[in-house]
Symmetry: C2
Subunit: 489 residues, 2 copies
């Protein structure tokens, strides 16, 4: 992975080309080369017992300093690695994870668990005082066991999307495709309650998890494999979204699906945004459960789906491994109304979707600040929220996920950069839109997690007694407070 | 409500008739009349400030001593009210709930929250030393607000199934029909993670809850109304299943459905139990999401559905407010194979289903001990579990809920009573079958909750660090430990 970009180190000429295509200008600033970055000397030496799985080398530290927020990209681009971890542990076994937690607890050194490092909320950055260990789970990436009868697999937390699916047998898949699919890991998905492939029904990884195993400073947390249970509050639901603060997720049983044999896709155009929203609301309440139900406003449709800049576009998809989906699609199109742009057997939108982050690599150089705001809100409150966001900033909007009681709108905002002041610009933008989300009854995050960037708004959103309970739980499991300090509690 | 029976005080002649019908005998023991029951004098006087909403009267205390386990019935039948609450608070407002919690915390007096009192796991019984207040929520039973756009309603926790639905407008319903529907309440459903009407997909109340409000000794816990969120571990999921130990749930926003316009029901007979199980497994993994998918073994089918005692019977149902369900039913029947017994427009199985508990009222008198064991287990482990249960006790089996990764089997066991020793018989039966469930990787409860009866098995089932976290959360919210002592933590 590049120390600053999405994916491996990008070719600068290619980025210049993308920048020119987008901006029409040759103005392009190059990233600070690695030999000139500001990386503080490590405050920790690799303990003797960890020699086989830990490193303190500068490049390894730099590559694991940040996540993938624009705020991260621009700092790395400019060579600022002030909050680099002091050493990187790459455990191969749970025993090695335990060794790290024991040592860190005894030494009171912070541990930041890391999967694919694709956090866009400052969730994997050592943004605190004192030394830090990056606990990189990427070597624990195996599918350990598959239960073909129950359609479930036991998978190590460090498995990325492609690694996980490649190890599954026959036509079984997880069918969970977040935009970060190429790099993000199962452990990261669980820790952050990631949103996946399905626009409705099983939207979050939460629903695909059968049991979770985590190493905490207070011992091993492993829930029973169960299809369903009513025995007390769900242990899994406490780890889901815990963002590395309660324990280090090392493996999980996940529910698998057969590869779909029946797939249909269609796009519908709407001259009126309000009509499009009403159609999607009715669809969300129909019980048809489309696997894809992405509504793009006219500007977003122009950028992402070849739209004319005047029509909103709804991309509908149904899939099944078991039965034809023609009747479901026909009924969905009937509900949608609008102008149907043809029904296809399949549509390879996922390729484009997962390539999008690569384009962003050109933004720091060309002087473009970008941020996305993803949220969820009930239908009754959506119009006021939407008007407020669109009135405050220059944004495009899409619905990434829809529920019977509300959509999950996703706003993309970009600004011309004031070179050198991008972090301040980004912070101001984040504060401005986040305030609007909170004031309109929306959530500070639907699937990007809280991290350090959303923390003030999260604190405001959650019930105060729940915060007390979570803090107490954290203190019981991690009495030294070494796990991902500053996140959630 | 009767002090011992399901529903209002039953007519004894009617019970004699039922007993004779079932046992063929006239042997019938009458319940100990109220003037001869053993009810200890109250250890608490009603505080002056609670005069308008609390009572210490003997009958009110007796009626709220137990839940509805057979273990409860038989004790009440025999006049044993040793663990009656010392006073009954019937708050009309959240302020009155707060008053009770404040006083109880200051005085270190236990509070047992109660909805419809239909717990079958000892969840609402003051089975501990020291005085107890029964906090009966039944007066807080209003639908406060309806959002027709997002299809959601704000409902007070004490609303029973019928009360809740009666207050909803037009064709909107909660569509959540547990067997206890007639008496159990929204707050109870949430506190115990009740299982409802849908055999697949939205099986538990968990999925129908948009936000929850609870009064805790540490303050008001209220989550935001959100269709979905990824902001940290879900606060609602911590209250779901908390069984009155973390706070008193006072109201919740729940998701509503339109009344189904399209309904189909069919029954399928199988000569082989194994083939029936395999068919249901394939159905559960088909993505068809039947609303009803009840598999009854041959003995259960004979008792409950007019079966011939040799064939297992699968009752399949599909419903939709939006679209015809014929294609789904046709495909389901194709998957099922077996011998199809006719497809009907509708089937009023729910009437019978919710009348079943009334029959049980005859058991204490006729000398019959009964208990049900409901669990969930992955498909790969089901055959061994089933063989072990059926080998150990004389049981009938049905699947009440099915998931892609496993069924939720429900076993009914009955024994001839050794009169006077029924509680010991029941306890021995509970221990024997619970041990089998735990040893075979199943859950101690799928939808009946933990209460006091399942507690030892629950402790064994849950991950130890989770128990630490839950205990810490409890201590933070309820430092005096007054909320439902002995349950969960």
């Amino acid at each position: 992975m590049s120390r600053w970009a999405w994916g491996v180190e990008p070719d600068l000429d290619e980025l210049r080309g993308i920048a020119r295509m987008i901006s029409g200008s040759d103005d392009f600033e190059e990233p600070v080369p690695f030999d000139r970055v500001r990386l503080p000397p490590p405050r920790l030496a690799v303990p003797e017992a960890w020699k086989e799985f830990a490193i303190g080398e500068a490049r390894a530290r730099a590559e694991r300093t940040y996540g993938q927020a624009y705020r991260d990209l621009i700092r790395a681009y400019r060579g600022d690695f002030a909050c680099a971890p002091d050493l990187v542990a790459l455990p191969r076994t749970e025993t090695e994870v335990e060794q790290v937690l024991e040592w860190a607890t005894a030494q009171q050194v912070a541990v930041v668990p890391r999967g694919g490092g694709t956090s866009v909320v400052g969730g994997v950055e050592a943004r605190f005082d004192g030394p830090a260990i990056c606990l990189d789970l990427s070597r624990m990436d195996r599918v350990v066991e598959v239960d073909q009868v129950s359609r479930a697999a036991l998978v190590q937390a460090g498995a990325s999307g492609p690694a996980l699916n490649a190890q599954l047998p026959g036509d079984l898949q997880l069918r969970f495709f977040p935009q970060s699919y190429e790099f993000s890991t199962l452990g990261g998905w669980i820790a952050t309650r990631a949103g996946g492939h399905y626009a409705s029904l099983h939207t979050h990884i939460d629903d695909l998890v059968e049991s979770v195993r985590a190493i905490t400073p207070a011992g091993v947390w492993e829930s029973r494999r169960l299809p369903g249970s009513g025995a007390g509050p769900s242990p899994d639901r406490m780890l889901l979204g815990s963002e590395g603060t309660l324990g280090v997720i090392t493996r999980a049983w996940v529910r698998l699906q057969r590869r779909p044999a029946h797939k249909l896709s269609a796009s519908v155009r709407f001259a009126s945004w309000e009509r499009a929203v009403a159609a999607v609301r009715e669809l969300s309440q129909s019980g048809l459960h489309p696997s894809n139900c992405r509504l793009l406003d006219a500007a977003e449709a122009q950028l992402a789906a070849g739209g004319d800049g005047e029509h909103a576009v709804l991309i509908l998809g149904f899939e099944s491994a078991d039965h034809p989906v023609d009747a479901a699609m026909a009924r969905a199109l009937e509900i949608a109304g609008g102008e149907v742009g043809g029904v296809r057997q399949d549509k390879e939108w996922k390729g484009t979707f997962t390539r999008m982050p690569y384009f962003r690599n050109a933004f720091p150089g060309m002087g473009k600040v970008v941020e996305t705001f993803e949220t969820a809100v009930t239908w009754d409150r959506f119009p006021a929220l939407h008007a407020a966001v669109m009135g405050a900033v220059d944004a495009t909007c899409r619905f990434a996920f829809v529920y019977p009681d509300g959509p999950a709108p996703y706003y993309t905002v970009s600004l011309p950069a004031e070179r050198g002041a991008e972090v301040a610009q980004w912070d101001a933008l984040k504060a401005r839109v986040s305030r609007i989300l909170l004031d309109h009854g929306a959530t500070i995050t639907h699937h990007h997690a809280v991290g350090r960037d959303h923390r003030p708004y999260y604190d405001e959103q959650r019930p105060e007694p729940f915060a007390l309970a979570l803090r107490a739980a954290k203190d019981a499991l991690d009495p030294a407070g070494v796990l991902n300090p500053g996140v959630l509690v």
